[in-house]
């Protein structure tokens, strides 16, 4: 498969297969206006299948690596400058996330209290387990 390479921008590789659109949504990248290429279900030596996202004219500062770590922990971010990958970043799991995920527990105070942030803390790194600061319910992605 041949996909036009980008000149300046980023390549998010090793995105879990089938989740590229969700990742874009979490990263606040609007697929209707950004110049991007999506490769979905490409073959991957490491993971069997993967998605790849290429976005033109965007720097690594423009995306939130914490959010990426949260929704696509295996992803890598290649920084492309003049058609070459000049740097590679790996997201890490953030310790604390604010207003990215919403608590799914109907008994949680966040479902009724107005004006409070949705906050989750990393409970277990290997299991990638996040729990709500308020009710300790496990986060659903």
């Amino acid at each position: 498969m041949e996909v036009t390479s980008i000149i300046n921008g980023i390549i998010i590789d090793h995105v879990p297969a089938g989740s590229a659109l969700k990742v874009l949504d979490y990263l606040d990248v609007d697929p209707s206006s950004a110049r991007l290429a999506l490769i979905m279900n490409a073959s991957s030596e490491r993971y069997g299948r993967k998605d790849i996202i290429k976005i033109e004219d965007i720097g690594s500062d423009d995306i939130d690596l914490d959010v990426l770590g949260l929704v696509a922990r295996t992803a890598t971010v290649g920084i492309v400058c003049g058609g070459r990958i000049v740097d590679k970043l790996r997201p890490v799991l953030p310790e604390h996330v604010v207003n990215i995920i919403t608590c799914a527990n109907p008994r949680c105070v966040t479902t009724t209290e107005r004006g409070i942030d949705q906050m989750f803390h990393l409970m277990h790194t290997e299991r990638e387990e996040y729990r709500c600061d308020y009710c300790d319910e496990e986060a659903q992605f």
Partner: protein, 320 residues
């Protein structure tokens, strides 16, 4: 602990819990001396759902320390808050009082309250989430019966899936260590994995899971009974069958050690036969007294009001 909010027991260190246990014993033995400790203080009990026994315990604790009490409960609620957010209510009430005890049906409500308040907030139960002063009462009762909360075989019986007081007690005892847990429940109501993991991560603690109370009751130092609630079951037959398997009566109790202590967070339905009440091993009404004493210890501690004549545990230990 001065100025501290107590939302879960995780916010208290092991030495702080030990000091509270020690304080509660001191208060019990020096009721007259401590009767003016919190004079001029006001406690607000904000009970967004009725729980009369918990509210009375918090209020009596403050009154016995010489302080006063305001608050609302259940039915009066609508007219008091008029749909106001928890945060706004706490910001308002903080101007009136020195300490707040809050009970709310939503999980995490006490944390929201403590973040909004400028005075210490004590969680008096937030939905099925946390009820730290219940666990403090449990610990105080075990302490008063055995003089220690370690080196014990602790049986927990009934609904071990949803009973959060049970989870909180197990997790807290694991912090102290050296406890053998005997988890007695029907298959349908077994202890959740994260609680079992917590025991496994504690090298000095261990557990076994069984379904027959009579089989293990003779090994136990403490038997913590819980309610098996009807709404946990899909059909009435299962409920009735399981409910009656986990009733403690004199026949089962006759198999237990002479100094075993029977605890229950109360109110009970039928899981402890009333004939057990007169047995010296029944400790559940003592647990109620200990709950009040622990709330007295907690209220005076977060207010920073020293109990006359009280020596903190650390200095006493150093002297020995």
């Amino acid at each position: 602990m001065v100025g501290m909010s107590v939302i879960t027991l995780d916010s208290l260190s092991v030495p702080q819990i030990q000091d509270l246990l020690h304080k509660a014993r001191y208060i019990d033995a020096h009721r007259r001396q401590v009767a003016h400790t919190c004079e001029g203080r006001v406690l607000a009990t904000l009970f967004y759902e009725p729980s009369t026994r918990t509210r009375l315990s918090f209020e009596t604790a403050m009154l016995r320390l010489g302080g006063q009490v305001i608050g609302f409960a259940g039915a009066q609620l609508a007219s008091v808050t008029k749909g106001e957010s928890i945060s706004d209510t706490l910001k308002t009430v903080s101007n009136y009082v020195d300490v707040v005890a809050i009970r709310h049906p939503k999980e995490g409500a006490a944390l929201v309250a403590s973040r909004a308040a400028s005075v210490p907030v004590i969680n008096a139960g937030d939905g099925g989430h946390m009820h730290p002063t219940q666990t403090l009462a449990d610990l105080a009762t075990i302490q008063s019966r055995f003089g220690r909360i370690t080196d014990l075989t602790v049986g927990l019986c009934g609904d071990l899936t949803f009973g959060r007081t049970v989870h909180s007690l197990i997790e807290t005892l694991c912090r102290f260590g050296n406890v053998r847990f005997v988890l007695i429940s029907p298959n349908e109501l077994k202890t959740p994995q994260y609680v079992l993991d917590r025991i496994r991560q504690t090298p000095s603690c261990s557990y076994v899971e069984v379904s027959d109370l009579s089989e293990v009751i003779g090994d136990l130092d403490v038997l913590y009974m819980t309610r098996v609630q009807k709404e946990r079951f899909f059909n009435e037959d299962d409920y009735l069958r399981l409910r009656d398997t986990y009733i403690l009566d004199e026949t089962k109790l006759s198999l237990a050690k002479d100094d075993m202590a029977v605890l229950h967070p109360l109110p009970r339905v039928n899981e402890i036969a009333t004939e057990v009440d007169s047995d010296p091993r029944a400790a559940y009404f003592e647990q109620v007294r200990n709950g009040m004493l622990m709330r007295m210890a907690l209220e005076s501690s977060v207010l920073g009001d020293d109990l006359p004549g009280y020596e903190p545990l650390e200095t006493r230990t150093l002297e020995v």
